[in-house]
């Protein structure tokens, strides 16, 4: 889901950088208020976990690959704003050091995976697990559903961003200047592969970690720690 350089035109790249600026500013302001000093190592490890899980590419029959992201898990444990900062750092390092995702597309990639995904997932988890005990099975299910919908929301946005490019940028012959695939191709492909395969991987990873924490370190799931 990492959009490389060259797929998005300057207008889209600029738009998402500008859109992310107030989000990053709000994230640092809110995390400053809500993140306790003892949660700092957890946030670092959450970002590292997301980084390494994105390296685990899974092949699908269509001949392409995809992976889980881990944003929803970090959001459930430390809140969506903290997740936004952690996943942003992971995405920036992937782009700069490893060329995974373009530097012109950092704004868009962060919007999809470090903003939309953790927020959608976090609130779905909150709604489904509303007032249930920390150790309940409903929380495991809520985490799985949140992971599934969260990554699909990000995939949908990525598809829309790809698909808008031929409309925004083309030459007189109608040939695209950047991403050559329109909404009719990009959105169904991005969404279907995540609905069918990668969404389930995200769901299972998210649910399993929450289940493990319920049994071994349930204080990490306590409500007040995930204040947003």
């Amino acid at each position: 889901m990492h959009i490389p350089d060259g797929y998005l035109g300057p207008a889209t790249c600029g738009f998402f950088y500008v859109a992310m600026l107030p989000i990053w500013a709000a994230a640092s302001r809110i995390v400053k208020k809500t993140l306790a000093a003892r949660q700092v190592p957890m946030l670092a490890i959450g970002a590292a976990f997301s980084f390494v899980i994105m390296m685990l590419n899974i092949p699908i029959p269509a001949g392409t690959t995809g992976h889980a992201v881990g944003s929803v898990l970090v959001a459930i444990l430390l809140g969506p704003w903290a997740a936004c900062i952690a996943i942003t750092v992971a995405l920036v390092i992937q782009a700069l050091l490893f060329g995974d995702g373009g530097i012109t597309a950092i704004g868009a990639n962060c919007f999809n995976m470090a903003f939309a995904m953790p927020f959608v997932g976090y609130y779905i988890y909150k709604i489904i697990s509303y007032r249930t005990p920390i150790g309940s099975r409903r929380r495991v299910l809520a985490a799985g559903i949140a992971g599934y919908i969260g990554i699909n929301a990000a995939a949908f946005l990525t598809g829309v961003e790809f698909g808008l490019q031929p409309l925004l940028h083309h030459n007189v012959n109608g040939q695209a200047l950047y991403c050559p695939y329109g909404l009719n191709v990009a959105v169904p492909v991005m969404v279907s592969e995540h609905l069918l395969v990668f969404g389930w991987i995200e769901a299972i990873v998210t649910a399993l970690v929450i289940k493990y924490l319920q049994e071994h370190s349930s204080e990490l799931l306590a409500e007040e720690k995930t204040s947003s």
């Binding site: 490389p4 490890i45 390494v52 092949p59 050091l97 373009g102 990525t158 200047l177 695939y181």
Partner: protein, 109 residues
Amino acid sequence: MKIISKFWIIMGVLIILSPLGLLLPEHFKAGAGWGEWGSDEIQKSAGYIPKGFGNLSSLWHAPMPDYRFKGWEEKGLPALSFAYIISAIIGIFVVASIVFLIAKVLSKK
């Protein structure tokens, strides 16, 4: 054992498993993620290289492109798996350190 130490052990396991992200796609002959192709693959699937794409796509030259060392493209899978593990270690170290520093500064009340 503290949960954080357990997490680092799990992270170590994930680092060792990380070459699966390279070997599995290789085994099933799967290319890059949808929409993450380079110009050759775009040329093949769309029939042309979009003009702006050509200009932008080579904008940044990452020091370890695709989680491997520069010039290792032709080396075999064992060498690339080794590079993948080193990339995972470097990436995790850099990401965790930066987030740790940012969070440390922000959480100072």
